[in-house]
Amino acid sequence: MQIDETTPNAARSAASGDDRTLGALLAARGVSRRAFLKYSSYLASLLALPASMAPAMAASLAKAQRQSVIWLSFQECTGCTESLTRSLSPTLDDLIFDFISLDYHHTLQAASGHAAEEARMQAMEAHKGKYIVAVDGSVPVKDGGIYSTIAGMSNLDILEETTKDAFAVVAIGSCAAFGGLPLADPNPTGAVPVTELVTDKPVINIPGCPPIPEAMAAVLAHVLTFGILPELDSLGRPKSFYGESVHDRCYRRPFYDRGEFAESFDDEGAKKGWCLYKLGCKGPATSNACATVKWNGGTSFPIEAGHPCLGCSEPGFWDMGGFYRALSVPTGDVARIAAVAAGAGVVAGAAAGALHRATKSAARGKHHTVTVEELEEK
């Protein structure tokens, strides 16, 4: 996954129309160096990088020219773009768009029609081999890909044309990363994820419906700083965000451990904030940073609002058998097994206790009184 050492900064400096460095841009916009350093520390910590990396990251980002990004939207709902642009306003999305030169994006670009497609072609030409392609949405391949077209071209063709000279591809959202809703049974359009189509370029998956905006910003910062992709897991997701399950970091985990579960959305357990496992929480099978990074600038995350995790960042989450059905139910008679085990525990405990009491009372029986005479002797 290593990208050529020479690619990053030189590549980016090439030509985004504005060749000022990011540092100069931020300064012009009145973002103080201190605020920028703080933001860099935030990103570094999200990426699980040592704190000492924050200044290096800040320095590197400040010197970087803006990265050219071509954003392709296929079978999607624009939720991912919404998530990104409505993140920690104003700092996060502002800064993300300062990192990048967004040369083509349906929702955000001013141009339309032929002018829009012209912009894409220009960017591909100007930054050949150096631009990043961000994709949200899955790609329909059934019947020649006719189910989604833009400017007369099928999504399949646009993807192929655009990624040919790209430096890396970032699949944003569960649709692009794993197929998402369009791929759900019966998948009428023959939707496939980006990874199945792009095999000759590094692809980073940032799944989620939508993904956590910080994840995208941090991945971009990592690429800009180090010129290499962050460490990825077997599903192509950055480990720093998707390394642990929602369940493991959930603040309701202690209730799970104690076997305290809400059985319905309005029972005592739900009011007391007990574990939502029995209400279908997919937290145990979902790798994401919701429980730690949280949403809306760190306000909360679904479980904190009283709703089970849907598992939206996992492959095939639509087809996991109902949002409100518990992940798995134990086989066999748990109550009886538990009763027998507890009984055995009581017996073993009583036996150990009796043994200890015997040891102790034997010791008491052998007590040799400490006397003054003896103190004087010894």
Binding site: H356, T359, A362, K366, H367, V370, V372, L375, K378
Partner: protein, 424 residues
């Protein structure tokens, strides 16, 4: 196994209870107790890590009270308690532990390490590995009635002086008095102002009190050396006198471990509840204050700080009382950095002051207190324990400091509103 070691192991087995077992099995080896121990901090020697001081007791717990330990000792693999081990640990269990309880306070899993040291001493003394200084003190306490060898004659002489100087009558063996007042040997020999202060404050408060001729001594060497057999006999003397004189409350003096011995260990040692209340003098004075029976006038002008005696404050919970009392008489009171339940020990509690071999170590330990004092620069140092007072005075003399040390009770007596001024 020699007879001595056998006795030690037997005593350890007797002492280990459910909480000891829980403490040992829940220790997470974090080492926080080291940072809480002034003997470790001032010497930097890791052998003074509090939990390490419990190794002999831990070995007996593991080999006698755990499944794997029992199996291991069956095939001879469990680490053994030997006479050499106990000899090596003597310094760790006695010289370098003032039982101040700070380690118990900071332990993140709540292990009462100090309480376990107290238990471990039972085994050490059973094997004869206790310091000579404490053995001597214990034997004098049993035979003469006081660890410093103070006799009833000396007490009577002090009472005589006091009565001649002040014209007051000091009540002795008065049946039916409300309070039984005890003293520590140090107060009888070195700080006679304590008894005078009591006489004046109690007279002003209109409280009836008495001294018992057969139980004037409050200290308990049995607690310090760790021999319950001896501690029990000493506590029983006080209980017998209190029951004979039918007092309602027994007052422990300005002495740290005497309070622990009487109030917390006492009923457990004799195996039944006391028919009277056991209180520290500061608690009684604070009650007087609340009832308006203790009234003062004028203020100490000097910058004052208070050294918390560990057994009274941290182990005893008498934290706010001294501060409320100090507020009555001090204008410029400053707290040291770590105070109240997180105070630092003077360095000589728990019997350390009676151990000759520990002389240099206790003065090294005092350096922690010196740093605290240097930070607030008081003009007077107040405390409520005669043993702390001796150590503070010695430590300051040794390190070239010159801050007078005063007792809280006597300072209150100095500011007592006299009946004449009260009327006027």
């Amino acid at each position: 196994m020699s007879a001595n070691v056998e006795r030690a192991v037997n005593a350890f087995k007797e002492q280990i209870d459910a909480s000891t077992a829980a403490f040992f099995s829940s220790c997470v080896h974090c080492g926080l107790c080291a940072e809480a121990c002034l003997f470790y901090l001032e010497t930097g020697d890791p052998k003074y890590t509090p939990i390490h001081k419990l190794e002999p007791l831990r070995r007996v717990w593991w080999s006698s009270y755990t499944l794997f330990g029992r199996l291991a000792s069956l095939i001879g693999l469990a680490p053994k308690v030997t006479d050499d081990l106990l000899k090596d640990w003597k310094e760790l269990v006695y010289d370098s532990c003032s039982m101040c309880g700070r380690c118990s306070m900071v332990c993140p899993v709540g292990n009462d390490i100090t309480g376990m040291i107290r238990k471990e001493r039972e085994g050490m003394i059973a094997a004869g590995h206790a310091p000579d200084g404490l053995k001597g003190a214990s034997s004098r306490a049993i035979k003469i009635g006081s660890p410093m060898g103070v006799t009833l004659k000396a007490v009577k002489a002090q009472i005589g002086h006091l009565e001649a100087d002040t014209g007051m009558t000091i009540p002795v063996n008065v049946e039916g008095a409300e309070y039984l007042v005890l003293m520590s040997s140090m107060e009888i020999m070195n700080y006679p102002e304590y008894l005078e202060a009591i006489a004046r404050i109690f007279e002003a408060a209109g409280a009836s009190w008495t001294i018992a001729s057969d139980a004037f001594e409050a200290t308990n060497s049995g607690i310090q050396i760790g021999a319950s057999d001896i501690a029990r006999e000493l506590v029983m003397r006080i209980v017998a006198a209190a029951e004979r004189l039918k007092v309602k409350t027994v007052i422990s003096p300005e002495c740290g471990h005497a309070y622990t011995a009487l109030r917390w260990e006492g009923p457990n040692l004799i195996g039944r509840p006391f028919p009277f209340k056991a209180r520290h003098i500061l608690e009684v004075l604070d009650e007087f204050r609340a009832d308006g029976r203790l009234q003062t006038e004028g203020f100490e002008e000097d910058r004052l700080t208070f050294h918390d005696p560990c057994q009274i404050v941290r182990r005893g919970g008498v934290i706010d009382e001294p501060r409320r009392l100090i507020d009555m008489v001090a204008k410029d009171f400053v707290e040291m950095d770590d105070n109240g339940r997180y105070n630092w020990c003077c360095g000589a509690g728990g019997g350390v002051s009676a151990i000759e071999e520990a002389h240099d170590l206790k003065l090294t330990a005092f350096l922690k207190k010196k740093k605290q004092l240097d930070a607030v620069k008081p003009e007077k140092l107040m405390t409520a324990c005669a043993n702390c007072r001796i150590q503070l005075e010695e430590g300051m003399e040794e390190t070239g400091m010159d801050i007078p040390v005063i007792g809280l009770t006597e300072t209150l007596a100095e500011h007592l509103k006299t009946p004449e001024t009260a009327k006027g």
